[in-house]
């Protein structure tokens, strides 16, 4: 798999950005893509930039801040082990540590990624739902409806519309339904279309990424 220049993660404190690349042009363009793709998740949120030992120049700091401004997001904290970067960060009045914590490792149970939203209704054409965590629907997702989740999507009903799991880039996300026949199914950056022919006796199925493509397999009780 190709190197990801940037990872994004929802945490209780804000959106955690971790650049994985050394190339800032690449990082910025990955950030811009991510913000644009999932604008509704991000708008108005605050951002924690975690750099590790990487150094940050003033120009790059300003570039990140300008980009976040466009999406009405606040560059709330920059976490770095590099002394010059810490100094630079402070000079812009941006915090260098998260309140009440010395490290950024949050408890898994507290992250929005591990929260689920339960919705008991059918989504009709033109209706949509976006949530950074998991989405569980007791009802159908009709053609023309859109469900977008940062985590998994579980539907106790039929999926006929568009679903996007792992919309923040989580390739381990899954989509399950009693009748999985979406017009389009996306997991992270992968897209698959529904098979052309309709099956006559639907069975519960689970879609996930296997070897870089989306596969569906029977959704059965795991022993």
């Amino acid at each position: 798999m190709e190197e990801i220049p940037l990872t994004l993660k929802g945490t209780q404190q804000g959106i955690l950005l971790k650049p994985q690349s050394e190339d800032w042009a690449e990082i910025l363009s990955a950030l811009e893509d991510a913000l644009r793709d999932a604008e509704d998740f991000f708008r108005g949120g605050r951002v924690i930039l975690e750099l590790g030992t990487k150094a940050l120049t003033e120009a790059h700091l300003l570039a990140v801040r300008a980009l976040l401004d466009q999406y009405e997001m606040e560059l709330w904290a920059i976490l770095s082990e590099d002394q010059e970067t810490i100094h630079l960060t402070r000079s812009y009045g941006i915090r260098t540590r998260l309140p009440g914590e010395t490290a950024t490792h949050e408890k898994p149970a507290d992250t929005p990624e591990n929260n689920a939203l339960l919705i008991q209704r059918t989504f009709r054409s033109g209706q949509s739902m976006k949530y950074p965590g998991h989405i569980v629907i007791l009802g159908d997702v009709n053609p023309g409806a859109e469900i977008i989740a940062g985590g998994n999507i579980i539907v106790w009903g039929r999926i006929r519309g568009m679903v996007h799991a792992g919309a923040l880039g989580d390739e381990s996300a899954i989509v399950c339904a009693l009748d999985l026949a979406p017009s389009q199914l996306r997991i992270a950056g992968h897209i698959s279309r529904a098979p052309e022919e309709r099956r006559h006796s639907p069975q519960p199925e689970m879609a996930s990424i296997d070897q870089n493509r989306i596969i569906a397999q029977p959704w059965t009780a795991r022993g």
Binding site: T122, F123, S125, G126, D140, P143, G144
Partner: protein, 262 residues
């Protein structure tokens, strides 16, 4: 008295909203009910033509809203059924000529003098759909057994649910049983299953409907027409009568060639 306000809507155009309005209005009048049909498709007036009342229009709904005439003056009485009235749309104006409040006021005023007020909604999901649907006690969603029409119907039902407006019931129009049997057309069960609202009627495709509309003599007046019977059944169901659904009949070869009631 306050009659029941029923809006005929669909989302998609061309599925038979105006045909349904004309036939159900007439169907209820045939049962002795006093009915006002309101053509809410301002600028694209059609209902008057289907009812054969085009040449009797003096004032229209916009004239009334703008205070140029009294309510009774704007109503056109049907030539066969004196208990059936049409409140025509304006042809020279557009939908922005009236507000949601205007339409609600007019619909309730009509309900004061009628047992049933039937509003023919414009296609689409914009202002015209909204002002037609808002005052309704019941919305009848007309759809055809085809994917695009069903999807638009689903959109409209979703909007009604989101607004918390009137409950919706479904009319599946233009069904061809022989095509359903060959899997070339959605069958009504699939449509009802997807839309998850109650069915109030299935109207078979009938070439005579077009001829009837052009003549200004709705099909509901034709005793031997299956489509006419379907509309008469829906009219009875609207009054709360328990009318069983007729089994779907395939046209005979003779009917295919000569039309359904030759």
């Amino acid at each position: 008295m306050a009659g029941k306000i029923i809006t005929i809507s669909s989302g998609k155009g061309g599925v038979g909203k105006t045909t349904a309005t004309a036939n159900l209005g007439l169907g209820l009048a045939m049962l002795g009910e006093r009915v006002v049909c309101i053509d809410a498709d301002i600028g694209l007036r059609n209902l008057d033509v289907m009812l054969g009342l085009e040449n009797r229009i003096v004032y229209d709904i916009v004239n009334y809203i703008e205070g140029r005439c009294r309510f009774r003056q704007a109503l056109v009485r049907d030539k066969h059924f004196p208990e059936l009235f049409l409140l025509p749309a304006a042809q020279t104006r557009d939908k922005n000529a009236i507000t949601i409040d205007d339409m609600s006021r007019v619909a309730h005023e009509a309900a004061e003098i009628a047992d049933y007020v039937i509003i023919d909604s414009p296609a689409g999901i914009e202002h015209g759909f909204r002002f037609a649907a808002k005052p309704a006690d019941l919305v009848l969603i007309v759809t055809n057994p085809e994917v695009a029409a069903v999807r638009d119907a689903d959109r409209v039902i979703g909007l009604l649910e989101a607004e918390g407006w009137a409950p919706a019931r479904l009319i599946v129009n233009r069904l061809k049983p022989d095509m359903v049997r060959r899997n070339e057309m959605l069958d009504p069960d699939t449509v009802v299953d997807l839309l998850a609202i109650d069915l109030i009627g299935i109207v078979p495709e009938d070439a005579q409907i077009l001829a009837a509309s052009n003549r200004g003599r709705p099909i509901v007046l034709e005793d031997r027409s299956d489509a006419g019977q379907a509309f008469r059944d829906i009219a009875r169901r609207l009054r709360g009568e328990d009318i069983p659904f007729a089994p779907l009949k395939e046209p005979t070869l003779f009917q295919k060639i000569y039309g359904s009631h030759s």
